[in-house]
Symmetry: C2
Subunit: 184 residues, 2 copies
DNA sequence: CAGTATCGAAACTGTAGGTAGCGAAACCTG
DNA sequence: CAGGTTTCGCTACCTACAGTTTCGATACTG
Protein backbone atom coordinates (compact mmCIF):
# COMPACT_ATOMS: atom_id res chain seq x y z
CA UNK A 1 0.00 0.00 0.00
CA UNK A 2 1.17 3.53 -0.72
CA UNK A 3 2.09 5.81 2.14
CA UNK A 4 -0.89 8.14 2.40
CA UNK A 5 -1.18 9.06 6.03
CA UNK A 6 -4.29 11.22 5.72
CA UNK A 7 -5.94 12.14 2.45
CA UNK A 8 -7.84 15.38 2.96
CA UNK A 9 -11.02 16.16 1.06
CA UNK A 10 -11.21 18.49 -1.89
CA UNK A 11 -9.47 18.48 -5.24
CA UNK A 12 -5.90 17.31 -4.79
CA UNK A 13 -3.02 19.53 -5.78
CA UNK A 14 -1.50 18.82 -9.13
CA UNK A 15 2.27 18.27 -8.91
CA UNK A 16 3.36 21.19 -11.05
CA UNK A 17 6.50 22.02 -9.08
CA UNK A 18 9.10 20.35 -11.31
CA UNK A 19 7.60 21.81 -14.47
CA UNK A 20 7.32 25.29 -12.95
CA UNK A 21 10.87 25.32 -11.57
CA UNK A 22 12.28 24.15 -14.88
CA UNK A 23 10.21 26.69 -16.79
CA UNK A 24 11.41 29.40 -14.41
CA UNK A 25 15.08 28.80 -15.10
CA UNK A 26 14.44 28.37 -18.81
CA UNK A 27 12.54 31.65 -19.03
CA UNK A 28 15.09 33.51 -16.93
CA UNK A 29 17.77 32.16 -19.21
CA UNK A 30 15.99 33.36 -22.33
CA UNK A 31 14.68 36.72 -21.18
CA UNK A 32 16.70 37.70 -18.12
CA UNK A 33 15.38 38.10 -14.61
CA UNK A 34 13.25 41.15 -15.30
CA UNK A 35 12.03 39.82 -18.61
CA UNK A 36 10.91 36.57 -17.03
CA UNK A 37 7.44 37.70 -16.00
CA UNK A 38 5.21 35.42 -14.00
CA UNK A 39 2.76 35.31 -16.89
CA UNK A 40 5.45 34.04 -19.22
CA UNK A 41 6.76 31.51 -16.71
CA UNK A 42 3.24 30.21 -16.16
CA UNK A 43 2.67 29.89 -19.89
CA UNK A 44 6.00 28.08 -20.32
CA UNK A 45 5.08 25.69 -17.52
CA UNK A 46 1.63 25.09 -18.94
CA UNK A 47 -0.17 26.32 -15.86
CA UNK A 48 -1.72 29.49 -14.49
CA UNK A 49 -0.13 32.39 -12.67
CA UNK A 50 -2.50 31.95 -9.77
CA UNK A 51 -1.43 28.35 -9.35
CA UNK A 52 2.18 29.47 -9.06
CA UNK A 53 1.36 32.10 -6.46
CA UNK A 54 -0.43 29.43 -4.43
CA UNK A 55 2.92 27.66 -4.04
CA UNK A 56 5.47 30.47 -3.89
CA UNK A 57 4.75 33.79 -2.29
CA UNK A 58 6.76 35.95 -4.68
CA UNK A 59 8.93 35.92 -7.75
CA UNK A 60 11.99 35.99 -5.53
CA UNK A 61 11.06 32.86 -3.60
CA UNK A 62 10.11 31.10 -6.82
CA UNK A 63 13.45 31.81 -8.45
CA UNK A 64 15.26 30.85 -5.26
CA UNK A 65 13.45 27.52 -5.27
CA UNK A 66 14.43 27.04 -8.89
CA UNK A 67 18.06 27.64 -7.93
CA UNK A 68 17.86 25.17 -5.06
CA UNK A 69 16.42 22.52 -7.34
CA UNK A 70 19.04 23.22 -9.99
CA UNK A 71 21.89 22.77 -7.54
CA UNK A 72 20.54 19.83 -5.63
CA UNK A 73 22.55 18.22 -2.87
CA UNK A 74 26.33 18.40 -2.73
CA UNK A 75 27.88 15.45 -4.49
CA UNK A 76 29.33 12.86 -2.13
CA UNK A 77 33.09 13.17 -1.80
CA UNK A 78 35.34 10.97 0.26
CA UNK A 79 38.97 11.70 -0.23
CA UNK A 80 41.66 14.09 0.81
CA UNK A 81 40.51 17.70 1.32
CA UNK A 82 42.64 18.89 -1.58
CA UNK A 83 41.11 16.34 -3.91
CA UNK A 84 37.63 17.05 -2.65
CA UNK A 85 38.09 20.75 -3.20
CA UNK A 86 38.95 20.25 -6.84
CA UNK A 87 35.88 18.10 -7.36
CA UNK A 88 33.66 20.61 -5.59
CA UNK A 89 34.97 23.56 -7.57
CA UNK A 90 34.21 21.71 -10.75
CA UNK A 91 30.79 20.76 -9.51
CA UNK A 92 30.05 24.40 -8.65
CA UNK A 93 31.29 25.60 -12.02
CA UNK A 94 29.04 23.13 -13.80
CA UNK A 95 26.01 24.31 -11.85
CA UNK A 96 26.71 28.00 -12.34
CA UNK A 97 27.07 27.30 -16.05
CA UNK A 98 23.59 25.78 -16.20
CA UNK A 99 21.30 27.94 -18.36
CA UNK A 100 19.56 30.55 -16.27
CA UNK A 101 21.45 29.99 -13.05
CA UNK A 102 23.70 33.04 -13.22
CA UNK A 103 20.88 35.34 -14.24
CA UNK A 104 18.68 33.93 -11.51
CA UNK A 105 21.35 34.52 -8.89
CA UNK A 106 21.87 38.10 -9.95
CA UNK A 107 18.17 38.86 -9.79
CA UNK A 108 17.67 37.18 -6.46
CA UNK A 109 20.68 38.93 -4.92
CA UNK A 110 19.38 42.28 -6.07
CA UNK A 111 16.00 41.63 -4.51
CA UNK A 112 17.46 40.17 -1.36
CA UNK A 113 19.21 43.44 -0.58
CA UNK A 114 15.89 45.01 0.34
CA UNK A 115 14.03 41.86 1.39
CA UNK A 116 15.09 40.27 4.68
CA UNK A 117 12.79 37.28 4.20
CA UNK A 118 14.39 36.46 0.90
CA UNK A 119 17.82 36.89 2.43
CA UNK A 120 16.94 34.42 5.15
CA UNK A 121 15.66 31.98 2.54
CA UNK A 122 18.90 32.25 0.62
CA UNK A 123 20.88 31.63 3.75
CA UNK A 124 18.93 28.62 4.96
CA UNK A 125 18.26 27.00 1.59
CA UNK A 126 21.52 27.63 -0.18
CA UNK A 127 24.34 28.95 1.93
CA UNK A 128 24.02 26.82 5.06
CA UNK A 129 23.61 23.38 3.46
CA UNK A 130 26.62 23.83 1.25
CA UNK A 131 28.63 25.44 4.00
CA UNK A 132 27.96 22.44 6.22
CA UNK A 133 28.89 20.04 3.44
CA UNK A 134 32.14 21.90 2.84
CA UNK A 135 33.08 21.82 6.50
CA UNK A 136 32.89 18.07 6.36
CA UNK A 137 34.42 17.49 2.95
CA UNK A 138 37.32 19.87 3.51
CA UNK A 139 37.80 19.50 7.25
CA UNK A 140 37.74 23.24 7.89
CA UNK A 141 35.97 25.38 10.49
CA UNK A 142 32.76 27.26 9.76
CA UNK A 143 34.26 30.65 8.98
CA UNK A 144 36.70 29.11 6.54
CA UNK A 145 33.98 27.12 4.80
CA UNK A 146 31.90 30.29 4.43
CA UNK A 147 34.80 32.11 2.86
CA UNK A 148 35.42 29.27 0.44
CA UNK A 149 31.79 29.35 -0.65
CA UNK A 150 32.03 33.09 -1.20
CA UNK A 151 35.28 32.68 -3.08
CA UNK A 152 34.21 29.92 -5.44
CA UNK A 153 30.62 30.92 -6.11
CA UNK A 154 31.37 34.63 -6.05
CA UNK A 155 34.15 34.32 -8.58
CA UNK A 156 32.10 32.14 -10.89
CA UNK A 157 29.09 34.44 -10.73
CA UNK A 158 31.12 37.60 -11.21
CA UNK A 159 32.67 36.21 -14.34
CA UNK A 160 29.27 35.35 -15.79
CA UNK A 161 27.79 38.62 -14.60
CA UNK A 162 30.31 40.81 -16.35
CA UNK A 163 31.33 38.86 -19.41
CA UNK A 164 28.28 36.63 -19.79
CA UNK A 165 30.63 33.76 -20.58
CA UNK A 166 31.65 30.75 -18.53
CA UNK A 167 35.18 30.21 -17.31
CA UNK A 168 37.88 28.55 -19.31
CA UNK A 169 39.46 25.34 -18.18
CA UNK A 170 42.70 27.00 -17.15
CA UNK A 171 40.83 29.63 -15.17
CA UNK A 172 39.02 26.85 -13.36
CA UNK A 173 42.29 25.25 -12.44
CA UNK A 174 43.59 28.56 -11.19
CA UNK A 175 40.47 29.06 -9.13
CA UNK A 176 41.05 25.69 -7.56
CA UNK A 177 44.61 26.69 -6.78
CA UNK A 178 43.47 29.89 -5.13
CA UNK A 179 40.87 28.07 -3.06
CA UNK A 180 43.45 25.51 -2.00
CA UNK A 181 45.44 28.28 -0.40
CA UNK A 182 42.64 28.50 2.14
CA UNK A 183 42.87 24.89 3.21
CA UNK A 184 45.92 24.89 5.36
CA UNK B 1 41.21 83.28 -19.14
CA UNK B 2 39.32 80.08 -18.45
CA UNK B 3 39.57 77.21 -20.89
CA UNK B 4 36.29 77.41 -22.76
CA UNK B 5 36.98 76.29 -26.28
CA UNK B 6 33.51 76.95 -27.69
CA UNK B 7 30.62 78.22 -25.63
CA UNK B 8 27.41 77.27 -27.41
CA UNK B 9 24.28 79.38 -27.11
CA UNK B 10 21.36 78.57 -24.90
CA UNK B 11 20.99 77.96 -21.19
CA UNK B 12 24.06 76.13 -19.93
CA UNK B 13 23.72 72.78 -18.25
CA UNK B 14 23.72 72.85 -14.50
CA UNK B 15 26.37 70.56 -13.07
CA UNK B 16 24.08 68.18 -11.21
CA UNK B 17 26.13 65.06 -11.87
CA UNK B 18 27.94 64.79 -8.52
CA UNK B 19 24.77 65.41 -6.53
CA UNK B 20 22.78 62.92 -8.61
CA UNK B 21 25.40 60.18 -8.42
CA UNK B 22 25.75 60.59 -4.68
CA UNK B 23 21.98 60.63 -4.23
CA UNK B 24 21.75 57.49 -6.36
CA UNK B 25 24.07 55.47 -4.15
CA UNK B 26 22.52 56.87 -1.01
CA UNK B 27 19.02 55.97 -2.12
CA UNK B 28 20.05 52.52 -3.31
CA UNK B 29 21.69 52.01 0.05
CA UNK B 30 18.57 52.98 1.95
CA UNK B 31 15.88 51.36 -0.18
CA UNK B 32 17.60 48.72 -2.28
CA UNK B 33 17.93 48.72 -6.05
CA UNK B 34 14.25 48.21 -6.79
CA UNK B 35 13.14 50.61 -4.08
CA UNK B 36 15.38 53.34 -5.41
CA UNK B 37 12.95 54.78 -7.93
CA UNK B 38 14.00 57.56 -10.24
CA UNK B 39 11.48 59.85 -8.63
CA UNK B 40 13.04 59.29 -5.22
CA UNK B 41 16.57 59.68 -6.53
CA UNK B 42 15.61 62.93 -8.21
CA UNK B 43 14.03 64.22 -5.02
CA UNK B 44 17.09 63.24 -3.00
CA UNK B 45 19.33 65.02 -5.49
CA UNK B 46 17.15 68.13 -5.50
CA UNK B 47 16.44 67.96 -9.21
CA UNK B 48 13.83 66.60 -11.60
CA UNK B 49 13.49 63.13 -13.08
CA UNK B 50 13.53 64.54 -16.59
CA UNK B 51 16.84 66.24 -15.92
CA UNK B 52 18.34 62.92 -14.90
CA UNK B 53 17.05 61.20 -18.03
CA UNK B 54 18.66 63.92 -20.12
CA UNK B 55 22.04 62.74 -18.82
CA UNK B 56 21.65 58.98 -18.41
CA UNK B 57 19.50 56.91 -20.70
CA UNK B 58 18.25 54.45 -18.11
CA UNK B 59 18.35 53.50 -14.47
CA UNK B 60 21.00 50.91 -15.24
CA UNK B 61 23.40 53.39 -16.82
CA UNK B 62 22.79 55.86 -14.00
CA UNK B 63 23.64 53.33 -11.32
CA UNK B 64 26.65 52.17 -13.30
CA UNK B 65 27.88 55.75 -13.45
CA UNK B 66 27.38 56.03 -9.70
CA UNK B 67 29.50 52.93 -9.22
CA UNK B 68 32.24 54.26 -11.46
CA UNK B 69 32.34 57.50 -9.53
CA UNK B 70 32.36 55.66 -6.20
CA UNK B 71 35.34 53.56 -7.21
CA UNK B 72 37.34 56.19 -8.94
CA UNK B 73 40.76 55.43 -10.35
CA UNK B 74 42.94 52.65 -9.00
CA UNK B 75 45.25 53.93 -6.27
CA UNK B 76 48.84 54.30 -7.37
CA UNK B 77 51.01 51.42 -6.23
CA UNK B 78 54.71 51.01 -6.81
CA UNK B 79 56.13 48.03 -5.06
CA UNK B 80 56.48 44.32 -5.33
CA UNK B 81 53.47 42.53 -6.88
CA UNK B 82 52.75 40.71 -3.63
CA UNK B 83 52.71 43.96 -1.69
CA UNK B 84 50.64 45.68 -4.32
CA UNK B 85 48.09 42.88 -4.28
CA UNK B 86 47.52 43.26 -0.57
CA UNK B 87 47.00 46.99 -0.95
CA UNK B 88 44.63 46.49 -3.88
CA UNK B 89 42.54 43.88 -2.08
CA UNK B 90 42.12 46.26 0.82
CA UNK B 91 41.24 49.09 -1.53
CA UNK B 92 38.61 46.93 -3.21
CA UNK B 93 37.18 45.83 0.11
CA UNK B 94 36.86 49.43 1.23
CA UNK B 95 35.01 50.37 -1.93
CA UNK B 96 32.64 47.42 -1.85
CA UNK B 97 31.87 48.30 1.76
CA UNK B 98 30.80 51.81 0.75
CA UNK B 99 27.08 52.30 1.41
CA UNK B 100 25.04 51.32 -1.60
CA UNK B 101 27.83 49.83 -3.65
CA UNK B 102 26.97 46.17 -3.12
CA UNK B 103 23.27 46.72 -3.73
CA UNK B 104 24.03 48.76 -6.82
CA UNK B 105 26.25 46.03 -8.22
CA UNK B 106 23.62 43.37 -7.68
CA UNK B 107 20.97 45.40 -9.44
CA UNK B 108 23.16 46.32 -12.35
CA UNK B 109 24.34 42.74 -12.84
CA UNK B 110 20.76 41.53 -12.89
CA UNK B 111 19.83 44.08 -15.53
CA UNK B 112 22.97 43.49 -17.54
CA UNK B 113 22.00 39.88 -18.12
CA UNK B 114 19.30 40.96 -20.53
CA UNK B 115 20.83 44.24 -21.68
CA UNK B 116 23.89 44.01 -23.94
CA UNK B 117 24.44 47.77 -23.91
CA UNK B 118 24.64 47.81 -20.17
CA UNK B 119 26.99 44.85 -20.23
CA UNK B 120 29.26 46.70 -22.63
CA UNK B 121 29.18 49.73 -20.37
CA UNK B 122 30.18 47.63 -17.38
CA UNK B 123 33.02 46.12 -19.31
CA UNK B 124 34.44 49.36 -20.66
CA UNK B 125 33.84 51.54 -17.61
CA UNK B 126 34.65 49.15 -14.82
CA UNK B 127 36.25 45.90 -15.84
CA UNK B 128 38.78 47.05 -18.40
CA UNK B 129 40.30 50.00 -16.53
CA UNK B 130 40.91 47.99 -13.41
CA UNK B 131 42.07 44.99 -15.37
CA UNK B 132 44.64 47.14 -17.10
CA UNK B 133 45.76 48.64 -13.83
CA UNK B 134 46.16 45.20 -12.31
CA UNK B 135 48.23 43.96 -15.23
CA UNK B 136 50.70 46.71 -14.51
CA UNK B 137 50.65 46.64 -10.73
CA UNK B 138 50.93 42.87 -10.50
CA UNK B 139 52.96 42.12 -13.60
CA UNK B 140 50.55 39.46 -14.85
CA UNK B 141 49.05 38.75 -18.28
CA UNK B 142 45.53 39.84 -19.22
CA UNK B 143 43.74 36.58 -18.51
CA UNK B 144 45.29 36.37 -15.06
CA UNK B 145 44.38 39.95 -14.23
CA UNK B 146 40.79 39.27 -15.29
CA UNK B 147 40.60 36.27 -13.03
CA UNK B 148 41.99 38.21 -10.10
CA UNK B 149 39.36 40.90 -10.58
CA UNK B 150 36.66 38.24 -10.64
CA UNK B 151 38.11 36.57 -7.59
CA UNK B 152 38.48 39.64 -5.41
CA UNK B 153 35.38 41.57 -6.40
CA UNK B 154 33.25 38.46 -6.80
CA UNK B 155 34.12 37.18 -3.36
CA UNK B 156 33.51 40.53 -1.70
CA UNK B 157 30.19 41.01 -3.45
CA UNK B 158 28.98 37.49 -2.78
CA UNK B 159 29.63 37.90 0.91
CA UNK B 160 27.64 41.14 1.02
CA UNK B 161 24.94 39.72 -1.22
CA UNK B 162 24.20 36.73 0.98
CA UNK B 163 24.97 37.91 4.48
CA UNK B 164 24.55 41.65 4.02
CA UNK B 165 27.65 42.14 6.14
CA UNK B 166 31.17 43.14 5.21
CA UNK B 167 34.14 40.85 5.62
CA UNK B 168 36.10 40.43 8.79
CA UNK B 169 39.75 41.36 8.96
CA UNK B 170 40.91 37.76 9.04
CA UNK B 171 38.73 36.90 6.03
CA UNK B 172 40.33 39.77 4.17
CA UNK B 173 43.78 38.43 4.94
CA UNK B 174 42.72 35.01 3.74
CA UNK B 175 41.32 36.49 0.55
CA UNK B 176 44.67 38.15 -0.04
CA UNK B 177 46.39 34.83 0.52
CA UNK B 178 44.12 33.13 -2.00
CA UNK B 179 44.67 35.84 -4.58
CA UNK B 180 48.42 35.64 -4.05
CA UNK B 181 48.29 32.03 -5.19
CA UNK B 182 47.48 33.41 -8.65
CA UNK B 183 50.56 35.57 -8.90
CA UNK B 184 52.92 33.07 -10.15
C1' DC C 1 -25.16 13.47 -3.73
C1' DA C 2 -23.22 17.06 -0.48
C1' DG C 3 -18.99 19.10 0.93
C1' DT C 4 -14.42 20.80 0.08
C1' DA C 5 -10.33 22.46 -2.05
C1' DT C 6 -7.89 23.26 -6.19
C1' DC C 7 -7.54 24.88 -11.02
C1' DG C 8 -7.37 28.27 -14.56
C1' DA C 9 -8.93 32.38 -16.72
C1' DA C 10 -9.90 37.08 -16.45
C1' DA C 11 -10.27 41.43 -14.50
C1' DC C 12 -8.23 44.61 -11.40
C1' DT C 13 -4.82 47.49 -8.39
C1' DG C 14 -0.73 49.89 -7.55
C1' DT C 15 3.58 51.25 -8.89
C1' DA C 16 7.64 52.25 -11.54
C1' DG C 17 10.46 53.06 -15.91
C1' DG C 18 10.47 56.03 -19.39
C1' DT C 19 8.40 59.79 -22.64
C1' DA C 20 6.05 64.13 -24.28
C1' DG C 21 4.63 68.87 -23.86
C1' DC C 22 5.21 73.30 -22.13
C1' DG C 23 6.09 77.59 -19.77
C1' DA C 24 9.90 79.65 -17.39
C1' DA C 25 14.74 80.51 -16.81
C1' DA C 26 19.54 81.36 -18.34
C1' DC C 27 22.70 81.91 -21.45
C1' DC C 28 24.31 83.74 -26.36
C1' DT C 29 24.85 87.42 -30.25
C1' DG C 30 23.87 91.87 -32.04
C1' DC D 1 17.32 95.60 -24.79
C1' DA D 2 15.51 92.18 -28.51
C1' DG D 3 15.52 87.77 -30.54
C1' DG D 4 17.34 83.11 -30.68
C1' DT D 5 18.60 78.87 -28.38
C1' DT D 6 18.97 75.43 -24.96
C1' DT D 7 18.04 73.58 -20.43
C1' DC D 8 15.12 73.27 -16.35
C1' DG D 9 11.43 71.46 -13.82
C1' DC D 10 6.82 70.25 -13.60
C1' DT D 11 2.73 67.63 -14.94
C1' DA D 12 0.54 64.31 -17.38
C1' DC D 13 0.83 60.26 -19.63
C1' DC D 14 1.83 55.39 -21.53
C1' DT D 15 3.20 50.73 -20.87
C1' DA D 16 4.39 46.77 -18.33
C1' DC D 17 4.59 43.86 -14.49
C1' DA D 18 4.05 42.02 -9.48
C1' DG D 19 0.63 40.57 -6.90
C1' DT D 20 -4.63 40.07 -5.69
C1' DT D 21 -9.42 39.04 -6.26
C1' DT D 22 -13.23 36.76 -8.22
C1' DC D 23 -15.64 33.00 -10.05
C1' DG D 24 -17.13 29.09 -12.57
C1' DA D 25 -15.31 24.52 -13.46
C1' DT D 26 -13.17 20.38 -11.82
C1' DA D 27 -11.64 16.48 -8.94
C1' DC D 28 -11.45 14.57 -5.05
C1' DT D 29 -13.73 12.67 -0.03
C1' DG D 30 -17.35 10.38 2.62
Amino acid sequence: MTAEPHRSPGRPRVDVDPAVLAATLRTVHELGYAGATLDRIAAAAGTAKTTIYRRWSSKGTLVTAALVSAFGPLPPVAGEPRQNLAALVRWGADRVALPGVAAAFAGVFAEAVSDPDLRRLLRTQLQEPYRRGLEQALAVPTARALLIVDLVVGTLLHRRGITGEPMTETDLQQLTTAARALLG
